[in-house]
Every structure is written in structure tokens, then in C-alpha cells.
């Protein structure tokens, strides 16, 4: 089927589907399959984290104390908020109410960017405290603090690898959200045909779920 323009809205589903309903189910199932791969993609990091936590419990406990739990908590709240806004946007899409879709999507994008900003400040604080393994690390806390556990760099490595992969997924999510905002502003969605918003919603909620697990595992296991 030769689509004239990429976003030309047409009643007919893509040529290999029987009807629009089947296309909607297929795209959400496809996204769910992709999210399963993401679960295992982050799963490797969680498995390695727990394996090393069983080997060096003191180092990982001290690492959790080094991190700023209150920054992590606000970030979790921000991300849960953006997830809520995304859910409201999807609901608005199912009512084909273009103005509210754009409003809720903007809230989601703003909260998402706020999350990245808070994360950025957190990285800056850790850079300042010489907590970045390989790049800027000191075995003793700066300002004549007490000596750090020799295995603390391992914990900080996992902290940076896990949060940076998560931030990467956030950035991708924000990009796709901006595309959907453009679509919504051009009144592209109808009551039947709004599954791009749903699919992006699935992805955004998943990225939020990953952070829901990341926050306690990294910040709250302080014993």
C-alpha cells in the first residue's frame, strides 16, 4: 500500500492486517515482547548486582549510604508522576480529545526532563565527592573523611552502569513522546486509531517500573 505521506491517516490498516482491531492488538503485543527483552536486559545488571552483593555485603551497604537517598526518592516521585500523566494522556487519546492529549503529554515530558536534571545534579555531586570509579576516585572520602571500603568502586560501577542505561532509555522515551505530541497536535488520532499513544505509554510505564526497582536496590539497602 503506497502511503503518500508518512502520517497520512487512513481508515485501512496496514496491508498485512485484516482490520484495525487486529493491528492494535498486534502492535501492543509487539511492544510487550520488546519490553520482555528489556526486562532481561536490565535483569543481567540486577543479577550481577545481587551476586556481588552476596560477596561484598559491607562494601555495598557503605555504597548505599554514600548515595543521596532523598534525591533518589524525589526522582521516584517525579517519575511516578510522569507515569500518571502518561496514563491520563492515553485515556485522553481513547476519547480522541486532542487538546487534553497534548496537555498531559507535555506534563509527562516536563516531569521526565526534571528526572534527568535531578539525576544530572546527583552525578555532579558524586563527581565532586570523588565517587566516580576509574575517572575520579579517592580511597578516602575527600576532606579527611573516613577510609572507603576497597570494594566500593565495584558498587559505584554498578550504580553508574545501571542508572546510565536507565537514563538512556529515558532519553529515547522523551524523543518518542515529542514525536507523539507532534502527531497529536495534527489531530492524527481518532477513537479507533490511537494505538501509537498506547504503545509509547507502555514503553514509558516500563521505564518507570525499572526505576521503581532500581531505587530501593541501589539506595535503600543500607544495612
Amino acid at each position: 500500500m503506497s502511503h503518500l505521506t508518512v502520517f497520512e491517516h487512513d481508515e485501512l490498516p496496514a496491508e498485512q492486517f485484516e482490520d484495525v482491531e487486529q493491528q492494535r492488538e498486534t502492535s501492543s503485543l509487539g511492544m510487550w515482547m520488546f519490553l520482555s527483552t528489556e526486562v532481561l536486559f536490565f535483569g543481567v545488571l540486577f543479577t550481577s548486582f545481587f551476586v556481588y552483593r552476596t560477596r561484598w555485603p559491607e562494601a555495598f551497604a557503605q555504597g548505599a549510604k554514600e548515595l543521596k537517598w532523598w534525591l533518589g526518592a524525589t526522582n521516584t516521585a517525579v517519575l511516578l508522576g510522569s507515569s500518571f500523566c502518561m496514563a491520563m494522556a492515553v485515556h485522553a487519546a481513547s476519547e480522541a480529545d486532542d487538546r487534553t492529549i497534548v496537555r498531559w503529554l507535555w506534563f509527562t515530558v516536563v516531569l521526565g526532563t526534571l528526572f534527568l536534571l535531578i539525576k544530572g545534579t546527583e552525578y555532579a555531586i558524586e563527581w565532586h565527592e570523588h565517587l566516580v570509579p576509574h575517572f575520579r576516585w579517592s580511597p578516602v572520602a575527600p576532606g579527611a573523611g573516613e577510609p572507603r571500603d576497597p570494594q566500593l568502586p565495584l558498587f559505584m560501577t554498578f550504580y553508574f552502569v545501571m542508572t546510565m542505561f536507565h537514563a538512556l532509555h529515558m532519553v529515547i522515551g522523551l524523543g518518542v513522546l515529542l514525536v507523539v505530541i507532534v502527531l497529536a497536535r495534527r489531530r492524527h488520532f481518532t477513537r479507533e486509531y490511537h494505538h501509537p499513544v498506547e504503545v509509547v505509554g507502555l514503553y514509558w510505564h516500563f521505564v518507570d517500573t525499572v526505576w521503581v526497582f532500581l531505587f530501593p536496590v541501589l539506595y535503600l539497602l543500607r544495612h
Binding site: F84, H205, H223
Partner: protein, 119 residues
């Protein structure tokens, strides 16, 4: 109903915020000073990790079921969502099966002597 209403979204969001406060509070409970057993540090570590993970699982489920409409989705979506987490559980379980039984003194034989297997 095939789709959750905004009211449900608001309730779920409130629940998530409540659980966030709960999990942060639970992390600061002084288990290592309170527990009676001599190995307080170890039990404190185990209790905090189990509390933190259960609350995280509950929050994750809330997001999955309501925000991602899994509760109203066909069975295939349940299977796909479940498969991802089940395989993660397989990887965790069998990898830790190896790590937690290393240097284990070994199951004692019939006379109560540990078998002392090499690694």
C-alpha cells in the same frame, strides 16, 4: 470495563506515592540494633532487602496492571509480561544457587561429619 477510568488512575497514583514513603521509611528501621539474635547485622540485611523488594514488586504490579492495562488485556499479554519476569527469576535462582553454595561445609554424612567437598 475495558479501560480504567481516571479515578482508578488517581487512586493507583496515590497508592504508589504511599508505598514510596513506606519503602523509604522501612529502609531506616534500626533492625540491627533491635533484633535479639547475635547475628543482628545479617538478619537486618535480609529483612531490609526482603521488605524493599516486596514493596517494589507491589509498586511494579500496580503500574503493570493498571497503568499498562494488563488487567484488561487478553491472556497473550499476561503470558508475554510474565515470561520476561519468569526468565529473570530463572537466571537469578540458578546463578545464586552456584554462588551461595560455594565453600559450603557440605551436607554432613551419616556420622555427622561434614563432607568437606573442594569448593
Amino acid at each position: 470495563m475495558s479501560h480504567p477510568t481516571p479515578r482508578i488512575y488517581r487512586n493507583v497514583f496515590a497508592a504508589l506515592m504511599g508505598l514510596l514513603v513506606l519503602t523509604v521509611a522501612a529502609a531506616f528501621l534500626p533492625f540491627d540494633r533491635v533484633l535479639p539474635t547475635p547475628h543482628a547485622a545479617v538478619w537486618a540485611r535480609r529483612i531490609t532487602i526482603s521488605i524493599a523488594l516486596t514493596i517494589a514488586v507491589v509498586k511494579g504490579l500496580l503500574i503493570l496492571l493498571y497503568f499498562m492495562h494488563v488487567r484488561y488485556a487478553p491472556r497473550a499479554t499476561w503470558a508475554v509480561a510474565g515470561a520476561g519476569f519468569l526468565w529473570l527469576a530463572i537466571m537469578l535462582a540458578l546463578t545464586l544457587a552456584d554462588y551461595l553454595t560455594r565453600n559450603h561445609p557440605g551436607i554432613p554424612n551419616n556420622r555427622g561429619e561434614p563432607r568437606y567437598l573442594l569448593r
